[in-house]
Symmetry: C2
Subunit: 142 residues, 2 copies
């Protein structure tokens, strides 16, 4: 999570919403990314999506079974759906996102009968730092 | 939708789940794709995600305001989330997907207070053909 937080800080410094994500398999990082929707002109370029795509490319596999995803913010519906499709085993996220999250808020993707894979979910690790990054970022935009 | 159905048929012939998507802006196709999760080894490579990314790249814009998305199957949570992030104005889909859809099923993404953009939704156009493609594909795998 420390690396995900560093990626989030880099994204914030570059004018992107500060969120970072890391995919780990057997203790080794196989994918990492920061949110890059502006830089890439890609509305799907959330940190989780980019990290999952990087990990799948790295492992040459469509499914990231045995992988854990660390992300600094509660995933939105798009990213929670991608986590389920990728068969991520464990999801660790830092700050909750009452406004856009879809794990413990909104569509609660993993709780739906239409969700075909549910990762183990561990919220709250690094929460204070992740929330502070987001607060500072949005305060500076107002 | 006819083009999306043709893309879906191509995907099915290539061993991918047969779903196709087209993004249209002012009567012009700005992005098109078929489901390619296997070929690309990318769990996020649903037709909608690829078509949205192609359209955003083509228009050099993070937001696809004024665009319509035509897709042969009810979008899942990942794709519905992407449609909201991309600010797609109108969503046309062919077959409903009670098992994995997230528009009229499951997480009902656009109905959530955490959803920050709701497209107009028009289901059912080309439903019979889209459903037949999926039925034939899955029957051939059993």
């Amino acid at each position: 999570m420390r690396i995900a937080l560093a990626l989030a800080a880099e994204a914030g410094a570059a004018g992107e919403v500060p969120v970072g994500a890391v995919v780990v398999r057997e203790g080794v990082i196989v994918g990492r990314a920061a949110n890059a929707t502006r830089r890439l002109n890609d509305p799907t370029a959330h940190a989780e999506i980019l990290a999952i795509r990087a990990a799948a490319a790295h492992l040459n596999a469509e499914r990231l079974t045995d992988c854990a995803l660390y992300v600094t913010l509660e995933p939105c519906a798009m990213c929670a759906g991608a986590i389920a499709h990728a068969r991520i085993a464990r999801l660790y996220y830092a700050a909750a996102d009452p406004k856009g999250g879809a794990v413990e808020h909104g569509g609660r993707i993993f709780a739906q009968p239409t969700c075909h894979h549910r990762p183990e979910v561990y919220p709250g690790i690094g929460e204070a730092e992740a929330a502070a990054l987001l607060r500072t970022f949005f305060a500076s935009r107002r």
